[in-house]
């Protein structure tokens, strides 16, 4: 059976038999850097294309279909164009911060990749406070956005960045609460253990209605956190032209654009890990044959399938709903999502203590 775990182990063994332990670390770091950058590039291309195709299908259009077979190479061509474009810096902008911001946003996205388990035994860093690490690092991306908005010396950018700041800080809370409810159920902050605890069923199904509520709150909150429609107030093209990245062009703009999609991938991966069992195949109670059949599907396929399902859900939101107003956005969080998720956390705790979950 195809397994990424074997490959990593073989590479590890080969390296350690040929080099000293210090060099092994260096080589592994290099491999990881290449793989992450490669993954980023591929994800950017695939997700942008997917978004455009999903949008087109929903909007009874065809979408890109000229470059390459069925338009597959459209995003490659777009990237090529963005790379060749001149990266302008506005005259009165704070040049250092202006140029730093896109890299900061990108770096945060990269850091978040570390604790995600892509397949059985295929994980960069199985830190024992994985979930905490994710919530801590993900709140850093707002700094990059604020930096971009402030340094651009553009009023649209500033307004967009300020909106984004208020939004991300607020929605962090309910996203955290939703994540916490799974931590309570599984009793661990470590990603591998959370996945292992879903061996006999995913938390979405095992945790009764509170888990479903937590899942819904989580999806809404992360949609807001990644500045996606209907919460894309930081960009709000009909109000603020392009919000915080109005002044960016060329590759610097591309980095923002890429970071948006990478962030979607990451939050969906986290959602899939916490609620849908990560790389764990779908197991239903005592259906031995069925469970065995499911095990034959490689774990990486399971993980990617679940993640892309959630990504599709978020894209579906974007192409259906109108945008909220800035005060409604905050009202939704503070008046609805936060009280609901707090109450929900209590219920989840109750379930966990009494052992009502399966």
């Amino acid at each position: 059976m195809f397994s990424l775990e074997h490959i990593t182990n073989e590479v590890q063994n080969w390296l350690s038999s040929n080099f000293s332990s210090g060099w092994v670390l260096v080589w592994e770091c290099l491999i990881v850097i290449v793989l992450t950058t490669g993954l980023f590039a591929v994800l950017g291309l695939v997700l942008v294309l997917m978004e455009r195709k999903v949008a087109a299908q929903i909007q009874i259009r065809l979408g890109p279909n000229r470059v390459g077979p069925r338009g597959m190479l459209q995003t490659v061509a777009d990237t090529l164009k963005l790379v060749m474009k001149e990266g302008l810096t506005p005259d009165l902008a704070d040049k250092f911060l202006f140029n730093l911001a896109p890299f900061l946003v990108m770096m945060v996205a990269m850091l978040l990749l570390a604790p995600i388990a892509f397949a059985r035994g295929f994980q960069l860093w199985d830190i024992n406070i994985g979930v905490l690490y994710i919530s801590a690092v993900s709140s850093l991306s707002v700094i990059g956005i604020l930096m971009a908005g402030w340094a651009s010396n553009n009023k649209y950018s500033l307004l967009g960045a300020m909106r984004s700041g208020a939004q991300i800080v607020s929605y962090e809370l309910s996203a955290g609460m939703a994540v916490l409810s799974i931590v309570v159920l599984s009793g661990s902050l470590q990603i591998t253990e959370i996945i292992q605890s879903q061996q006999n069923g995913w938390w979405l199904f095992k945790g009764h209605i509170p888990a479903v509520i937590a899942f819904v709150v989580f999806i809404i909150a992360v949609t807001a956190e990644t500045n996606r429609a209907p919460f894309d107030l930081a960009e709000a093209e009909s109000e603020l032209t392009a919000g915080f990245h109005t002044e960016y062009s060329g590759m610097k703009f591309a980095l923002f654009f890429l970071a948006e999609y990478i962030n979607i991938f990451i939050v969906c991966a986290i959602g899939a890990t916490l609620f849908l069992g990560g790389w764990m195949p779908l197991h239903i109670g005592s259906w031995g044959g069925f469970n065995h059949l499911m095990d034959y599907i490689p774990s990486s396929i399971w993980f990617l399938g679940k993640t892309f399902l959630l990504i599709f859900l978020i894209m579906w939101f974007r192409w259906t709903f109108p945008r909220l107003r800035v005060d409604q956005l905050l009202a939704l969080e503070w008046k609805y999502l936060l009280p609901i998720s707090m109450l929900n956390l209590l219920l989840v705790t109750l379930i966990a203590i009494l052992g009502w979950h399966f």
């Binding site: 999903v54 299908q57 929903i58 009874i60 579906w316 939101f317 192409w319 259906t320 709903f321």
Partner: protein, 158 residues
Amino acid sequence: MSVKEYIQNVYNGVTSLLKGMRKTGYYFFHPKEIITQQYPDNRSTLQLAERFRGEVVMPHDASNEHACTGCTACELACPNGTIKIITRFDTTPEGKKKKALDTFIYHLELCTMCNLCVEACPTDAIKMAQNFEHSVFDRSKLTKKLNQPGSKIREGVE
């Protein structure tokens, strides 16, 4: 706001959103509803309405004859000065001098396809054609001469 109202609000909101998602979801899973016309590819099957106004043309019959008497009614009817008619005097076999069309100049770049010239023409010598692909690299190519070289007025058209 009572607790009941609060729950009612949440319920109503979520159902309204789900209804919208059902609609867009329906279209996502029914690609047959796609209405895009792949324009340059479907040129061979493209059907334009017979009255579609693309440009002014002057139909000539097989013996290279048209119906224009050179009366300049179209030139007068045109709001933009799109049409310029140059006439000459032909001598008929009976020895009489008769006004005839020499050159029918049509400035496509000025034309707004309002159809007033076609309406004004007493002999139906000009009509609107369906061709709409007018882009050229040189503007002077848009100034057209509508009567074909060597053409003459059809017998019996006054």
